[in-house]
């Protein structure tokens, strides 16, 4: 038997060696290799980066990842549940919400309209646009990869939603941050807070939108905690009244532009503006939009139902003449032109990036409207909302607080900036995953100097 053991041992070693040698010659060249520096070598990050790179560049990794889904599916038993029952509940950690995503242009003068756009809208003619979709967690869920405990991803029927869990201490901080922005802007600026529910509030069984998951409760609580200098907008009721419309995507964590429209009408009611009718806008659409919720759950075979039932993204083009410029900081130099409604290449799955080209530090939409200046402080929910404002303002300045006042990020003093830009109305728009996110609240708070 010694010989048999010897042969099997040699075979075992041979398997390891063969795979190892084969892997060296067939590594995926697209995987980013870590760069060695003295610091990264000394603190061990180079070595850990090497291991991560090797795992990402491992030959046949796409095939193996596909098989991994089967394994994950085995461990996430959906049971014999019906078509509209909850299939999966996965820790969400706010990943889809907390990472900005954007289209990036190779030079500063390019812009593409949607394929079926015609007249009106942005003035500049586009040429070419590339995409960067940092929202996609390409490696899927990894054990222990906890960013921030915000809620869960729920797969229910052919829809996936983010279920928010209330953290009332954090919501107190959020309300204080909004109030401090209003205070910093002063009484010459009207500060509005728009908190919008997401799809979990309306398309889930009772337990996922009641108690600590009740978004109406979270929104009421947050509004109740805000100062008198903040004007709160009841977007919830407007959305709740139009649930038969296509107001939320099924495969993405965002609302549709139609959902944003109903929030816009609520804002107009509060601000004393006359909302434009939907019929005033030209429309177009992207078919086969498979969004962030699928990307997040793609490591589980149950999520195939999302891939197989994609969303349709319908956009409404502003009917005023406008020019949209993106800036990397508050000095607003070296901007580049982009669209309010952008072209998204067919190979880019995240079609939601068509709104403002995704998340940028500052986006300025200049219109030919004779009106005041509006500043919208937002995360990505605001991207589908901003185009509606163009009918009322000469300038809409869209600010993403996640892109300022952090390590290696530009500084922004929101009060000084608003004064310079002669801002009259300031809207702070967020959805429930953000108002319990200490990370986001910290970023929002820091714009007040």
């Amino acid at each position: 038997m010694k010989k048999v053991y010897g042969i099997l041992s040699a075979l075992f070693l041979l398997v390891l060696l063969t795979v190892g040698i084969y892997s060296i010659f067939h590594l995926n060249a697209d995987a980013a290799k870590p760069e060695v520096t003295f610091g990264s070598f000394f603190d061990g990050t180079y070595a850990s980066g090497q291991r991560a790179w090797y795992a990402a560049a491992f030959p046949q990794s796409e095939t193996l990842k596909g098989m991994n889904k089967t394994l994950n599916g085995f461990y996430k038993f959906s049971g014999l549940s019906g078509e509209n029952d909850v299939q999966l509940l996965i820790n969400m950690d706010g990943q889809a919400a907390q990472h900005g995503a954007s289209l990036q242009t190779p030079d500063s003068t390019t812009q593409n309209p949607p394929p079926d756009s015609s007249t009106g809208g942005d003035a500049t003619e586009p040429t070419e646009t590339t995409a960067a979709e940092s929202v996609e967690p390409s490696d899927g869920l990894q054990p222990g990869m906890i960013v921030e405990n915000l809620g869960a991803a729920l797969l229910i029927g052919n829809r996936a939603v983010e279920v928010a869990y209330a953290d009332y201490d954090s919501i107190d901080d959020y309300a204080a941050a909004v109030t401090s922005i209003a205070t910093a802007l002063g009484s010459n600026v009207n500060t509005y807070s728009i908190l919008v529910p997401n799809a979990a509030e309306f398309y889930t069984p009772e337990d996922y939108h009641s108690g600590e998951c009740s978004q109406s409760g979270m929104i009421s609580y947050a509004y109740g905690k805000m100062g008198q200098n903040v004007k709160t907008v009841d977007a919830y009721s407007k959305l709740a009244a139009h649930l038969d419309d296509y107001v939320y995507f099924r495969t993405d964590h965002h609302w549709t532009q139609l959902g944003a429209y109903y929030a816009y009408t609520a804002y107009c009611d509060k601000a004393g503006l006359k909302a434009e009718p939907l019929s005033a806008f030209e429309t177009g659409q992207y078919d086969s939009f498979v969004g962030s919720m699928y990307q997040f759950l793609s490591n589980y075979p149950q999520a195939a139902i999302l891939r197989d039932n994609p969303d349709t993204l319908k956009y409404y083009r502003p009917h005023v003449d406008l020019e949209t410029t993106v800036y990397s900081d508050a000095t607003m130099t070296n901007g580049y032109l982009l669209g309010t409604i952008c072209h998204v290449d067919s190979d880019v799955s995240n079609k939601y990036l068509c709104f403002l080209g995704g998340d940028h530090p500052i986006t300025v939409i200049k219109t030919d409207v004779d009106g005041p200046v509006c500043m919208l402080i937002k995360e990505s929910y605001g991207n589908a909302f901003a185009p509606w404002l163009t009918s009322h303002y000469s300038k809409v300045i869209v600010v993403d607080p996640r892109e300022f006042n952090g390590d290696g990020k530009p500084t922004l003093d929101i009060a000084g900036f608003a004064r310079e830009q002669n801002v009259k109305d300031c809207i702070i728009l967020n959805y429930p995953m953000m108002i319990s996110s200490d990370l986001y609240i910290g970023q929002l708070s820091r714009v007040v100097k």
């Binding site: 038997m1 010694k2 010989k3 048999v4 053991y5 010897g6 099997l8 041992s9 075979l11 075992f12 070693l13 398997v15 390891l16 060696l17 795979v19 190892g20 892997s23 060296i24 070598f41 000394f42 603190d43 061990g44 070595a47 850990s48 291991r51 090797y54 795992a55 491992f58 990794s61 193996l64 990842k65 098989m67 991994n68 394994l71 461990y75 996430k76 038993f77 959906s78 049971g79 909850v86 999966l88 509940l89 820790n91 490696d139 899927g140 869920l141 990894q142 054990p143 222990g144 906890i146 405990n149 809620g151 869960a152 729920l154 279920v163 869990y165 009772e206 996922y208 108690g211 600590e212």
Partner: protein, 468 residues
């Protein structure tokens, strides 16, 4: 570096094994292992390599002097080792207790914990005490001692190996084909326990920790209980398997702890080498049970407080250790009554207390621990639809964990081996023996394949015990 990543599996490990077996002579093989071990360590915390070499050389040098001159000075190297451990692991904790370091970390040294320090420090303490007691001579050379301390299979997460147990193997050993084969199979089993069970159990645990329902709290405690067993015993299996490949025999660290019929029994089966370390180097030197009942209780108190603190510099670990002190003391009194209960009842009672122990262990924040325990014992809602979904989603995992931690795999292995190879000598070559070996080989390759699938594109969760 962890064992559970593709880089280790397909580059580092096969290269090390190949070079090891190609190079002739035990001294050269030892050098191969030392180089591999230092490289292994460098790939985790390169900045602490000088600390490892310095402490290893210091201990070697002191050991050499102590044995030759004054055995009473054994207290010096033991104290120095404890001082090093205290500096890196406990100083900030005590600075916090005495108000020097604030809760936000200001005033604390904030030194990263050197990986494996709790294991290799204890090995060096055991080395000196055993040398002092005359159980073995000092290491004949620094390289010999360095290999004992730094040997990569067991350096990061044990088992805690005593010099006396491996000194002969450090100088002369043979890796028989059967040992290499069995070592490889054992390694794959350990890898599967870590990658295919523990990592998933941890994921379920972290998902359940977000749920504020009593049932979720119980379920999350159960998932942590499984996670820590499969994690730690998996890494130990890998260490023992790798040791076997290179001709070493390391002590077993686990013996089906979740089949224990008492808390005392549990601690005979859980982290066996740590328990025996505290028994031999703390409890017995303090007098054990030889100096009266009161002194015995004090000794047990010290041992369990230290056992708790060994796992981490935090109050919850101390509470966890003392929780077992109280349980063991109570069990001693109640044992005659407990022994009359059927096995199933004793098992359930034991697992209940072990599970509560893991709740204490897994919550470093005492307010969080308090609210979690309150949730488990009736505060707030017990059940929600979310819990139902997670429970249903987790059923296969729970089944795998229950079967995997039971006696069934061992029975199956014994029965399978019994059918095919019982009564046959290794020198014989029979079809059933070949069938048995081939079946094990294929099983190991299947596990390796599944682990590769699971590890592609991602890193396994770092092992918890590596931070002890």
């Amino acid at each position: 570096m962890e064992f559970s990543n593709l880089y280790f599996l397909y580059l580092f490990l096969p290269l090390t094994i190949a070079v090891y077996f190609l190079i002739p002579g035990i001294k050269r093989k030892n050098i191969v292992l030392i180089v591999a071990s230092l490289l292994f360590y460098t790939m985790g915390q390169p900045y602490y390599l000088p600390l490892l070499l310095l402490t290893a050389y210091g201990n070697y040098w002191l050991g050499d002097r102590i044995y030759n001159k004054d055995k009473r000075t054994v207290i010096l190297p033991v104290a120095l080792n404890i001082a090093v451990l205290a500096l890196f692991k406990y100083l900030d904790f005590f600075l916090g207790i005495f108000g020097v370091a604030a809760a936000d970390g200001s005033g604390a040294l904030g030194l990263p914990l050197p990986i494996g320090i709790s294991f290799y420090t204890f090995q060096m303490i055991a080395y000196h005490v055993d040398a002092y007691k005359g159980k073995h001579d000092p290491a004949p050379s620094f390289l010999n001692f360095l290999l004992y301390v730094s040997m990569f299979p067991k350096m990061l997460m044990g088992p805690i190996v005593r010099y006396n147990d491996v000194k002969a193997q450090l100088e002369e050993r043979r890796s028989s084909p059967r040992a290499v084969f069995e070592g490889g199979v054992r390694f794959c089993v350990g890898l599967a326990k870590k990658v295919l069970i523990a990592d998933y159990a941890y994921l379920a645990f972290s998902e359940l920790e977000n749920q504020s329902f009593g049932a979720a709290a119980w379920l999350s405690a159960l998932m942590f209980m499984f996670y820590i067993y499969f994690e730690f015993s998996g890494v130990t299996d890998m260490a023992i398997g790798l040791g076997r490949i290179f001709g070493f025999r390391y002590a077993e660290n686990f013996d089906l702890p979740y089949t224990s019929k008492s808390v005392t029994d549990f601690w005979r089966r859980w982290h066996i080498t740590l328990g025996s370390f505290f028994r031999d180097y703390v409890y017995i030197p303090l007098g054990g049970n030889r100096k009266g009942k009161a002194r015995q209780i004090l000794n047990l108190f010290i041992v369990w407080a230290l056992t708790g603190l060994w796992h981490g510099a935090n109050w919850n670990y101390l509470i966890w250790g003392l929780y077992f002190f109280v349980l063991l003391a109570a069990e001693k009194q109640l044992m005659p009554k407990l022994e009359k209960l059927p096995y199933a009842a004793r098992l359930l009672i034991t697992m209940f207390f072990v599970l509560i122990g893991w709740v204490i262990f897994s919550h470093e924040s005492l307010p969080d621990l308090g609210s979690r325990l309150a949730m488990m014992f009736g505060k707030g809602s017990f059940w929600g639809a979310q819990v139902g979904v997670i429970l249903r989603n987790s059923l296969p995992l729970i089944a795998v964990c229950l079967i995997g931690s039971s006696v069934l795999p061992r029975w199956f292995s014994l029965i399978w081996g019994g059918i095919l190879v019982r009564g046959r000598k290794e020198s014989q070559l029979t079809v059933t023996q070949v069938l048995y070996a081939v079946s094990l080989f294929l099983f190991a390759i299947l596990l390796l394949y599944l682990c590769t699938v699971s590890l592609t594109g991602a890193a396994s969760k770092p092992s918890l015990y590596a931070s002890f």
